[in-house]
Amino acid sequence: MSKFRKKGGKDLPPISTASLPDIVFMLLFFFMVSTTMREVTYKVQIRLPEATELSKLEKKSLVSYIYVGEPLQQYQKTFGLASRIQLNDQFANVADIQDYVIAEREARSEEERPHMITSLKVDENTKMGIVTDIKQELRKSAALHINYSSRQRVER
């Protein structure tokens, strides 16, 4: 009688799925830790310009965002095709920026305020006129540290 008897004919036992939840939970925690929630709902279309000399925005809590671009299709009936500014969740005018900066500043603690950064997320087809206006408003409200949000360009 052979020791290495073939177990032919017998079915394979089904693979245990008991550890599946653990695996999925591991994935879940990975994603929870490594990602950040989307800050706002975009009301404007933004296709960021490309650049190579990028620096990362390290501390998300210190960043306030200004979005500029054409309104999304469902808002075009009311707001038209011209580039608009979006602050938080709504459309805004250039004149609202100073108030926005002050509100953002008030929301931070005293020692964080000097390190605040304003990130400009501007569509690449926007005209510079509106961007210059925004920059002037930012200078007026002494929010001088800015970051022109852009994508990494792939060098050919």
């Binding site: 999925v24 650049a51 000399e53 925005l57 990130s119 200078r139 002494a142 540290h145 800015i146 022109y148």
Partner: protein, 191 residues
């Protein structure tokens, strides 16, 4: 005798976890926000602006971008691909040429007395310039200065600029300051 409570089935746990996972996948963004970091100048009242002391013409590297996204560098039409080299040459001025910016001696830690350029890059754009072009130009100018710093730190410390410690970086920055000035927006002429 009380009956034993049956075990809670754990088979659906995976489904619940999957649902959570998908929720997080959809609502989050993976990419780290990054961009060109710049500092704006202090706000100056337009009335006080008039008496600005003129900088010598050879010390200014003028870049103009018009409404058709064309570049005018130092008075002549230029291509954006050449801009980085031109800006580098301007800021470094390796042969002390007459038409490139002056230098002044300055005491810098680690380097001793070095000649530091007085050059300033001036960028001016039209109201109708495309933002994408503006960023491309800014990017080239920042890249020029970054490359100069990189070369200098390789030469002096044998290391990449990023690997230097804080004081060394500061010394390098002092020799190649990031002097990109953006003109005050002015209303000139009709359109």
């Amino acid at each position: 005798m009380a009956r034993k409570t049956p075990e809670v089935p754990a088979t659906s746990l995976a489904d619940i976890a999957f649902m959570l996972l998908i929720f997080f996948l959809v609502t989050t963004t993976m990419d780290v926000d990054s961009g060109l970091e710049r500092r704006l100048p202090q706000w100056i009242d337009p009335e006080e602006l008039e008496n600005d002391d003129r900088i010598n013409e050879r010390n200014v590297f003028v870049v103009l971008v018009n409404r058709n996204n064309d570049l005018l560098v130092e008075g002549e039409y230029a291509n954006i691909d050449d801009l980085r080299e031109r800006a580098k040459e301007f800021m470094a001025n390796p042969y002390n040429e007459e038409n490139l910016p002056e230098k002044e001696p300055k005491q810098v830690p680690y380097f001793g007395e070095v000649m530091v350029t007085k050059g300033v890059i001036s960028l001016r754009n039209d109201m109708d310039t495309k933002y994408g072009t503006y960023i491309a130009v800014q990017n080239e100018l920042v890249a020029a200065i970054n490359e100069l710093r990189e070369e200098l730190s390789k030469e002096q410390f044998g290391k990449s600029y990023e690997d230097l410690d804080k004081e060394q970086q500061e010394a390098v920055r002092e020799i190649y300051p990031s002097k990109i000035s953006e003109a005050e927006p002015k209303k000139v002429g009709g359109n």
